[in-house]
Subunit: 191 residues, 2 copies
Amino acid sequence: MFTAFHKVVSQFLEFTPREKEILESAFTFRQIPKKCKLVCKGEVATELYFINKGLIRLYYTKAEEEITGFIFKENLFASSYDSFLRKEPSIQTLESMEDCEILVITHDNLEDLYKVLPKINILTRKVAEQRFINSQQILSSFLLESPEERYRRFEIQHKDLLQRVPQNVIASFLGITPVSLSRIRKRMQES
Amino acid sequence: MFTAFHKVVSQFLEFTPREKEILESAFTFRQIPKKCKLVCKGEVATELYFINKGLIRLYYTKAEEEITGFIFKENLFASSYDSFLRKEPSIQTLESMEDCEILVITHDNLEDLYKVLPKINILTRKVAEQRFINSQQILSSFLLESPEERYRRFEIQHKDLLQRVPQNVIASFLGITPVSLSRIRKRMQES
DNA sequence: CCATTTTATTATCTTTTGTTAAGCATCATT
DNA sequence: AATGATGCTTAACAAAAGATAATAAAATGG
C-alpha cells in the first residue's frame, strides 16, 4: 500500500525503517469512486493526498463552467495546495476522474509529524519546491507558446492522459475552448 | 541593512538574536546599477537575492524579444528560483531595472546554513510555499481572465509598478503585445 | 440493447489579438 | 539645441480564438 509512496519520497529524502513507520502512521488509506469531490470550492482544504491509483482533477468554476487547473496522476501529491497552506477557503474544486486509491494526511497530522520528525520540513520543502517548479513551467508556456504549441507539448509530456481525459478538460487546461482545440487538432492533421 | 530582511523573515518564523547573527553572516550586501544582469540565460543560478531597494525583472528571451516572467520589488526574495533549485542552466535572465541594494546568499552558503541552523528548512519551505501560491495566482489569472481583466488586476495589485515599469514590459508580463495593451487601455478609457 | 447524456466536430459570425509600419512624445547625452 | 534611442499610440490588415448552434459520435446507465 505504501510501496509507491516510499519510492517517491525516497527521491526527495532518505528515511530509516522506523521513520517510515511513523510516516505511514500519519496517513490513512482511502478508496473513492469516480466523480468524488475531495475539496469543494468555498471550503478550506484540510487534507493532502498521495495517489496510488487513479486521476484527480483540480478545477475552477466560472459561470457554470469548469476550468481545469491541473490533472494529478499516480505517484503525485494532489491537493488544493493553495487553500491547504493558507487555510483559506479554496477557489478550486478537487475531484476524482476515475476510481481512486489514495493516501490521506490531514493538516493536523502533518503538524504533529513536524514535531515528531522535524526532517519532514525538508520533505515538504522539496514537495513545495517541486510544485513551484511545475507551476513555473506551465506559466512560462502561457507566456512563450501559442495554444497549438501548448497542445503539442501536452501531447508529448502527457501522452497517457490523452486517452484518459476528455478533450474539453484538456482544452480548458490549455486555456482555450473545446471548439478551438478541435480546430487546432484538425489543422495539425492536415499539415 | 538587515532591518527589512528581519521584518520579512519574522513573518515566516521567529529567530533568536544569536540565530539572526548567523543568518546575517550568510548574506553579503551588494549594490548594483540599473540594467545589471544577476543571472544570465544559459547559466546556473547560484545565488538568491533579497531586495532592500530597487526593482529586478525576470525575463525569457524568445526570438530577440524579452518576455517578462516576473517583477520583484522591495522586500521580496528574487531569483531564477527554478534554476537555483534544479541546478540546471536558467532559461530566464534576472536583471535590475533600477539601481538596487540587495542581500545575496549563495547556494553553498545556504547549504551550510541548513547544517548549522536546521530551522532554516522551515524558512525556505515557507518561502517556497509562498512562491508556489504566487505562481498559482498568476496561473489562475491566465486560465480565468481575459487580458483586459488581467491588466485591471495588475493596476490594483501593483499600482506602484505602473509608474516604475515601462508599459511594454507589463504587456509581456500579461502575455500580450504592447500594441494590444495600448488598445486595451484605450478601450478602458472610453467606457 | 436501447435511451440518454456527454463529448467532439463543423460551420458561421463576431471579437480580439498579432503583425507591421508610421508618427509622436519623451528623455538622456553630447 | 540637435541627436538618437526608447517607448506609446494609431491604423490597416491578417490570423486566431470566442460564441453559438447544429450535427455526429461515443460513452453511460439502466
